[in-house]
Amino acid sequence: MQFTDVTGLAGCAIAIVALAAKVPGVSRLSRTRRRGLLAAVFFAALLPVGALPLAGYVRGATGDLSIASLLLLGMGLLRALHGVPMPPDRNKLLSLIVLVAIAFYPWALGWSNFDPYRLGYGSYWLLAGLLGIALLSYWQELPTVALAIGLAVLAWSTGWYESANLWDYLLDPLVSIYAAMVLATQGIRRLRRG
């Protein structure tokens, strides 16, 4: 097993833990029991069931989760386990993910001859653009956005996952769908309230 298998499987195991935390009844457990249960789920997700661990089956379908996914899953788990509130700029991060996904995926999947995914193999323009957004976020006091971008760039440059493409560290389709659903739900609630 290679280092990138460990990081990839661990990411999927974290997603399984985050899903387990949402199971009805888990939130009613005492904090200690909840922590014990979710730690057990994490390790169980990495134990082989037949040919592969459960995280391996998830990884077959989802691939490795982006740093944005891990960050949001981490925030959710911190709230579930330690009662840490969501950071105030979480919605800004979700909005940025949705905007980038809308601009990115149609072109990356063949809309035209321009392929933005190519920029992820080390384009200085993409890096410079991300640096600009990260610095702007930092000065606008949006630390979660700056953190998501900074960690993604660091993970890419250190070969955290199998992918050599920066986009795979920045976002993935699942976090894009999740962000769109959260924002849509919030929007509908706001409309209902009038």
Binding site: P53, N113, R118, Y121, G122, Y124, E162, L166
Partner: protein
């Protein structure tokens, strides 16, 4: 200082990012294939089967020349295309003996899944390439979810000419769950030793792509060859010079059914707009090579429907016009009911495939073909997925799927091709 720690961390991350980006190799010219030795062999064409496993489906063969001049073939084989029991198999052709070795399993789904640490449902097209350091790489298609549009590429490396292989590794080539990058045709080398690999995408829309791999097999660039929605896939890249190349692609769009072509004159920095070539294409794979004199040789189903005819065609003007020089297979109009088909295929097995099917085994071979090609609705003739290679000896080797049951090998000398080309004029 503490207040500025996040900013310093951000700058550190981007410092690492820019340093990493600076390691990417600069653009490079194409490296032409090595010129084969002078071949003074008489005009000879021989054919035989490269695969020997019975009662299984065999498909999508490719070739690579070994250091000692032998030819190694890879294909996938199993109870049916897409079945979990499909394996990548290989056999070696010894030109001195004129025979293929017994076929062997290279890798199966279980080994792939275990090494990749992720679920794998099925295996598909295998293609081998030689890296600048002399090692062989085998790339093959794997699918975790859905059909072939859900494919990803898996790679293995061999330093002993394919006798043993490293653990499979996943190549990440697509941002959408790594879905839909497939291989079919051979990689080529750039002048700086990096490897160019024509691949294609099928999810939502079909288009050709070109990967560039460093000596360790890592992807350093990916380029789109055609926009989506044009039905162009399975690119074969023909290097004509340091900066010039033509790409031919299978076409799955609307009539007229012609292979799609693009060209470059600056080593792939820019490509022409996709256009339909003069080559007929019934949405089937084609193969082509550049001969030492600059002519191009293609093997393809040169029809607009079906895969029951296969031809060799030559272009003397860089791929603009093509002339058929030999009809390898043509079973158009032959019986498709089971009784008529069996009788006809029995004749084929007894005839042109010299020495490959001894009379004692012919019935087994026939049963194998019948099991793969016949359904209650009728039987089909299929001669598809050709793959061409010119060896250093000058001999040209072609493998293709023969009625889904076997991989057929055709070997011919440059003199044979010259005479066929003369005849076709």
């Amino acid at each position: 200082m503490k207040r500025h720690a996040p900013l310093l961390l951000l700058l550190l991350a981007f410092g690492a990012g820019f340093y990493h980006a600076a390691q990417r190799p600069p653009a490079a010219a194409f490296r032409a294939s090595p010129t084969p030795e002078a071949n003074h062999q008489p005009p000879i064409l021989r054919s035989r089967f490269a695969s020997s496993r019975l009662h299984t489906q065999a498909h999508a063969a490719s070739l690579v020349e070994l250091q000692d001049g032998r030819i190694r073939a890879f294909w996938f084989s199993g109870s049916r295309e897409g079945a979990p029991d499909v394996e990548i198999r290989s056999s070696v052709f010894d030109p001195a003996q004129g025979s293929w070795s017994a076929e062997q399993k290279v890798v199966n789904r279980e080994r792939t899944q275990h090494a990749l640490q992720r679920y794998v449902a099925k295996l598909g097209n295998p293609v081998a390439g030689r890296a600048a350091d002399g090692s062989l790489w085998l790339y093959y298609v794997t699918v975790s979810l859905g059909g072939w549009a859900g494919s990803s590429i898996t790679a293995m490396r061999s330093t002993d000419e394919g006798d043993t292989w490293s653990d499979p590794r996943r190549m990440i080539t697509s941002p959408f769950l790594n879905l839909s990058t497939l291989v079919r045709n051979a990689p080529f080398q750039y002048a700086d030793g990096t490897l160019g690999f024509p691949v294609y995408h099928e999810f939502i829309s079909k288009f050709g792509e070109l990967l560039r791999l460093d000596s360790g097999g890592a992807i350093v660039d990916k380029q789109r060859l055609t926009p989506g929605g044009r039905g162009a896939l399975q690119p074969v890249l023909l290097v004509q010079g340091g900066n010039e190349a033509r790409v031919l692609m299978r076409y799955s769009g609307t009539p007229p059914y012609r292979a799609v072509t693009i060209t470059t004159e600056d080593a792939g920095r820019h490509w022409s707009a996709p256009a339909k070539s003069a080559l007929p294409n019934p949405d089937s794979a084609l193969s082509a090579i550049v001969l030492p004199d600059g002519r191009m040789l293609a093997a393809l189903n040169d029809i607009e429907q079906g895969r029951d005819a296969l031809s060799l065609m030559v272009s003397a003007d860089g791929g603009r016009t093509w002339r058929k020089v030999y009809q390898l297979e043509d079973q158009r109009g032959q019986p498709r009911d089971e009784a008529g088909y069996v009788e006809h295929v029995a004749g084929l097995l007894a005839g042109p495939v010299e020495g490959a099917v001894p009379a004692a085994e012919r019935q087994e071979y026939l049963d194998s073909v019948k099991s793969q090609a016949c359904t209650p609705q009728g039987c089909r003739y299929e001669f598809s997925y050709p793959f061409l290679l010119q060896a250093r000896s000058g001999d040209i080797h072609l493998v293709y799927t023969w009625n889904r049951a076997f991989i057929k090998h055709v070997q011919f000398t440059p003199e044979w091709l010259r005479r066929q080309t003369e005849r076709a004029r």
